[in-house]
């Protein structure tokens, strides 16, 4: 907490006494003051205007246009959406993305919560646990994925060799359409877990000890204290991290791009990878924008559902 509380030490204000009742220069009141204020907003207005707001609007416009970046764009109505829905790969990509999201939730959602709960009981050496759990997060995703690709190698890879020692496998990991997506999720979980653990841990430390003590006096054992005290107290953090994970996993791109390129047999082709292919391989910018637009709608819907849910929690 202390990290983000402003230090109260007096700053470098001149020590001289304030001249009494000097008619204060009001910095040109009104207009001049407004102008100065807007001047300081110029950098934000420029970058957000050019590289955030305009692309968002433009994305919507392009999805109704045909453009190849050279000739002027032509309005084509709903054509882009029509070709999009005629593409059999769209269904595959949506299905795969949902599969990634669901697997990510099943594997990646409980893991940080459990780890954080265990780490919250550690009294000595808690820093070592936190360091270790966050270490994978600082590894650049491309390096992490290439490393795991090597681990997954059916011949010289670490996993098959270790599992072979105990008589399991060999597994085909990335090379079979049945296990490729699972392999992606395992790496993504490992790579992304640390942040969630630290956030849960901070929330757990913030739970007042009296609540646990009261529960203990009432005869609640450890499990019931977890179930009836800790988890309800974490409700809003759990909800928030659920939303964050959903939004992040819906946008999965780097894993399929580097691990498999979308294969085998399109089993890891995700929506964002399809957008990328439409735009930067086929040059179908309009179609790519149309799919982007659908994706933005999905994300907005997720956020709306979340806001609604949190509102009903706080009133209940």
């Amino acid at each position: 907490m202390a990290l983000l509380t402003p230090s109260r030490r007096p700053a470098a204000v001149s020590k001289e006494p304030v001249p009494p009742a000097l008619p204060q220069r009001r910095r040109g009141t009104g207009a001049r003051k407004q102008l100065t204020a807007w001047l300081f907003l110029v950098p934000a207005l420029l970058v957000f205007g050019l590289f955030a707001w305009w692309p968002i609007v433009r994305s919507l416009l392009i999805s109704f246009q045909k453009t190849n970046l050279v000739e002027p764009a032509v309005w084509v109505g709903l054509d882009n959406f029509r070709t999009l829905f005629d593409d059999p790969l769209l269904g595959t990509a949506i299905g795969n993305t949902l599969f990634f999201v669901v697997l990510g939730l099943l594997i990646g959602f409980p893991a940080p919560l459990i780890l954080a709960a265990i780490m919250s009981t550690v009294r000595r050496g808690a820093g070592v646990y936190r360091f270790l759990v966050y270490l994978p997060v600082v590894i650049p995703p491309v390096v992490a994925i290439l490393l795991w690709k090597w681990f997954y190698d059916p011949g010289s890879g670490l996993f098959n060799n270790v599992l072979g020692k105990v008589g399991l496998g060999p597994y085909s990991w990335l090379e079979s359409s049945d296990s490729a997506m699972l392999s992606l999720v395992l790496e993504a979980t490992w790579a992304g877990m640390g942040g969630a653990v630290l956030i849960y841990l901070a929330a757990m430390v913030g739970i007042p000890g009296e609540l646990y003590e009261a529960a203990e006096v009432d005869g609640a054992g450890i499990w019931r204290r977890i179930w009836h005290v800790m988890l309800p107290q974490l409700r809003s953090v759990i909800g928030l991290l659920l939303l964050v994970q959903l939004i992040n996993t819906v946008q999965v791109f780097t894993e399929p791009y580097i691990f498999t390129g979308g294969g085998p047999e399109n089993s890891t082709l995700t929506v964002l990878l399809l957008i990328f292919r439409y735009a930067f391989q086929d040059g179908e910018y309009g179609q790519a924008a149309a799919l982007s637009f659908l994706m933005v709608l999905t994300l907005a819907l997720l956020s709306a559902v979340y806001l609604r849910a949190t509102r009903s929690w706080s009133t209940s």
């Binding site: 907003l41 934000a44 955030a52 270490l135 491309v142 946008q251 990328f276 956020s303």
Partner: protein, 292 residues
């Protein structure tokens, strides 16, 4: 450190059975974390110093019989990892500066100067949080190769990464909220002393805001070091690509032992920064929450 009451209470800890269970779960977790935290990094370093024959003949050896450092120099010069790292430093440095500059000036204007309609601008900035840039990469790309009004092509220049890096609504929010909590009397006192608005920012607000500037810097540096998809789209010139984009390409061409050495070189700077600034990073992220 003060002892905190968790779901395992002090009296629980005095019962031998519970104590043994908690201990063994903690030790098991520590071993697991060592395996998944240090393990992969160790294995990568091991792979980088192993001769290619040993990589295939003894895949489970904990350390090669004849470790060789040659892969590092080969990766550094033959695979041009040196240049890619330099490119990455440029990309990260510029993105960091733009993000800090935009967040600080916008936070200052919105929190301290409060122009008319400032709330509208703030709302419009926050709204962009719901539209991640990856989803907009197509129109962002089209904007970058033909910037509106100016009609210049930023493609294949670092400006194409630096400028969009400034559109992080979350760091603007952090800056504004922090500035909101600064004592207002100081601003009035400075004004009375004749400080200009610029001096108010550089002499009063920024020196008092080091913690939040550190957190913003950290988020900016980590994000741009880890970013892959936008540099992949924006920089197609192999001479200019940052290490993560280059590695994805090298993965299909380079010999495996050299590739692993290149990966070690790519991971060393962020890991070193993490080891040195661990305390701040862990505290900063535990607090600011969700951005990775």
């Amino acid at each position: 450190m003060t002892t905190l009451t968790t779901f395992v209470s002090t009296s629980d800890r005095q019962r031998p059975g519970v104590r043994a269970a908690v201990r063994s779960i903690q030790v098991f977790t520590l071993i697991l974390l060592l395996l998944i935290g240090i393990g992969p990094l160790y294995w990568m370093v091991k792979g980088a110093v192993s001769p290619p024959t040993e990589l295939t003949t003894q895949p489970l050896a904990l350390w090669p019989d004849r470790p060789a450092l040659g892969n590092f120099s080969a990766a550094y010069t033959d695979l041009s990892v040196g240049r890619y790292l330099m490119n990455t430093f440029l990309v990260v440095g510029g993105s960091w500066f733009v993000q800090l500059f935009v967040s600080a000036t916008a936070g200052f204007a919105l929190s301290v100067l409060r122009p008319k309609f400032g709330k509208v601008v703030y709302g419009a900035i926050l709204a962009t949080m719901f539209v991640p840039y990856t989803v907009n990469m197509v129109s962002l790309f089209m904007t970058v190769i033909d910037v509106p009004f100016l009609h210049i092509n930023l493609g294949d220049t670092y400006w194409a990464i630096w400028l969009p890096a400034g559109t992080n609504a979350f760091t603007v929010l952090l800056a504004k909220q922090f500035f909101d909590a600064l004592p207002k009397e100081l601003f009035d006192a400075a004004r009375v002393d004749g400080a200009s608005t610029r001096q108010l920012l550089t002499k009063i607000v920024l020196p008092m805001s080091k913690p939040v500037l550190a957190v913003i810097s950290l988020l900016a540096v980590m994000h741009s070091w880890k970013d892959f998809i936008w540099p992949l789209v924006a920089i197609t010139d192999p001479e200019k690509q940052p290490i993560s984009v280059a590695l994805a390409q090298l993965a299909t061409q380079a010999p495996q032992d050299q590739l692993i050495a290149a990966m070690v070189l790519a991971v060393a700077p962020p890991v070193l920064v993490f080891v040195v600034c661990q305390k701040y990073i862990v505290a900063g992220l535990g607090f600011t929450g969700v951005k990775g």
